[in-house]
């Protein structure tokens, strides 16, 4: 497939692997931020092809995983209301809240619909004027512009029975939270290509400088990831700490200005709780005062409850890169994709779920047979 197969080329992969082996002389710990990158590393079997000195740790960049239980409970509460159609992207449906998931709410009679774009939800609101349509707006900076645009569009079209339940999280504050942890062992980051497509590179310069950490904006295909790792390790070996852009075919330095303007038109930056990590100041988006009629929390007077996580789950340590999924005693036993105890097992892009689905045969004993 043009524009994809080139980045999955076996010879090119081998070439990059050889170069990585040549430049690596010290042990390094590199965190890939995005769940899509984790998924690709594990799915393509890249982790075991890397030199032993390189440890990849899997960051918190899975929006489904880091959505707090309290927000999922809000969505479920809305879905079970008589006059509400709750729209969501598919992978949020399976995630359990404190007592049930949206899939179970649907089975109990809640009107829950999978949509592929928030504009579809606006259309649904137009088609169902006697119902309230709520879109569960989950994601990082990547999905924020489209979700913001749906609100702008609804207002423009005079659609008043549409609102969003925002659960947006931001990457740079999470990186800082991880780096500020005294236990942090992260030497370099692969930043998330899609997030940077929207936001550009500027937010990352101060982080690289303050924490003396190389940050390489990286794509998602095997060649992208290996090139990103090579760039990060090369910097580390030279003692550099720069922001570099591996994903230059997509990411521009200033990002997508129009998308950024749309975000700021509708959202304010707010403090946010991250499942498995805790509260991080100024790490999320909430619908601003101007568009408050499109904020489901205001419209339905929801009060998010602080729901405690399972106490034996070590997801915080996993998402900060302090532990690997296999180091958790619940992994594959009490905690499985069908019964996740914590954030990284809930979505296929979470580190634990990726390990569970694709772990190699040396980990046979940890897999179900």
């Amino acid at each position: 497939m043009k524009y994809l197969s080139e980045y999955r080329d076996r010879d090119l992969v081998q070439q990059y692997l050889r170069q990585i082996h040549v430049v690596t002389t010290h042990p390094w710990t590199v965190m890939e931020i995005c769940g899509g990158q984790t998924h690709s590393l594990v799915k393509n079997g890249i982790l075991e092809m890397l030199p032993k000195q390189i440890t990849m740790v899997h960051g918190p960049g899975c929006p489904v995983c880091v959505t707090p239980l309290g927000i999922i409970d809000e969505a479920i509460e809305l879905a079970l209301r008589q006059n509400v159609i709750l729209c969501s992207f598919g992978d949020m449906l399976r995630v359990p809240g404190s007592s049930k998931s949206l899939l179970e709410a649907k089975a109990m009679g809640g009107d829950v619909r999978i949509v592929y774009s928030p504009l579809q939800a606006v259309k649904l609101a137009q088609d169902n004027p006697d119902k309230e349509v709520v879109f569960f707006a989950v994601g990082f900076e990547t999905t924020a512009p489209a979700n913001a645009l749906s609100v702008v569009h609804a207002q423009k079209m005079g659609v008043s029975n549409y609102s969003i339940l925002a659960s947006h999280v931001l990457v740079p504050p999470a990186m800082e939270a991880i780096l500020s942890d005294p236990e942090s062992k992260i030497d370099a980051f692969l930043a998330a290509g899609h997030v940077c497509t929207i936001m550009g590179l500027y937010e990352y310069f101060p982080i690289a400088e303050k924490y003396r950490v190389p940050i390489v904006v990286t794509g998602f295909e095997p060649v992208d990831l290996l090139q990103g790792i090579l760039m990060a390790v090369t910097q580390l070996e030279r003692g550099e700490a720069k922001v570099e852009n591996q994903y230059a075919r997509v990411v521009q330095r200033e990002g997508n200005k129009l998308a950024q303007e749309t975000i700021h038109q509708v959202f304010d930056v707010s403090d946010r709780a991250w499942r498995g990590i805790g509260s991080i100041p100024a790490s999320g988006y909430e619908v601003n005062e101007v568009y408050k009629h499109y904020n489901a929390r205001t419209k339905f007077q929801l009060a998010m409850k602080d729901v405690p996580e399972n106490s034996t789950c070590i997801s915080g340590a996993i998402m900060k890169g302090l532990k690997k999924p296999f180091q958790c005693s619940n992994f594959g036993t009490k905690c499985k994709p069908e019964h996740p105890l914590g954030a990284p097992m809930v979505s296929s892009e979470g580190a634990c779920a990726a390990y569970y689905a694709y772990a190699n045969e040396s980990n046979v004993s940890l897999q179900e047979t």
Binding site: G45, E48, G90, V115, A359, Q367
Partner: protein, 345 residues
Amino acid sequence: MTLYCPMPQMDFDVITMGHGSGGLLTHRLLQSGVFDLFKNDHLDQQHDGAIFNLSGPVAFSTDSYVISPIFFRGGNIGELAVNGSVNDLAMCGAIPKFLSLAFILEEGLRMEEFWEILVSIKTASEVAGVQIVTGDTKVVEKGKGDKIFINTSGIGVIHPQANISFNRVKPGDKIIVSGNIATHGVAILSQRKGLEFETSMESDTAPLNGIVKNLLDTIGTDVHFMRDPTRGGVATVMNEMTGQCKLGIDLTQKDIPTLEEVDGACEMLGLDPLYVANEGIFISVIKATRADEALQTLRQHPLGRNAAIIGEVTAQHAGQVVLTSKIGGRRVVNYLTGEQLPRIC
């Protein structure tokens, strides 16, 4: 596949509760819609069941069809219901003979749609060489169904050279897929409400009894196992095999045939083709020394032109399916938890 067959005069434009009452409306619907259309010696008896002779071992299988949308590019629910049971029998090494056919109709189903489905069933059963010999029709209130649900059960006589069983799978056996994977699932998804994307992709639903018969005629008992990877796709069948046989399976990703359009759609939706549903293909496990001959036999049939050896059975990593990715990395292919759901980003 369509056959021109004019719809007989019906009393109503849509199915009503009366059509399931057992009274006159039911009688008229069955007479013109079923008995006249599927006419054969067994059905003509209009008995409570069919009576027939069979000799030797037989296979018996049943399946229900609840697909949405009921009409899709490349077929409809009726054709699927015939091919599904025919294929299940073929996977047992049987030559399908007779089918039962039961409908659960939702009040309000348009008579034209029902007729088109009936005609497809007739055509599909003729292509597959099976007779519909008994059946049932029920009607449920609007909102209690999804237009039409179909159940078919089938009986077939085991091919004289067939010996198909999990127990016969041995280390070294080759795994052959008879055609491109994931075509049906992606064709259906592309027409789901809210997800329509432009593609000319058609479902590959087809009766596999012809191609299976060729394979068994040529390779005989060296065909150790067969399975059609419908729901759950190729990955699920492979996992069922490793679970049952207590052996491992090695798959080679670059050898697994897919249409480029299917790859593209799966990329866009975040789906893995290995878990996408199939219809007109099957997986066979063949003794290593006969694998090339089996491949050639399959490729000579129109439904097997894209057949490929995609892996082999191994005594290593028992109970696990391990895939060598296109770039040469290795990873486990596990069961999927629930349905594949499109991702956020």
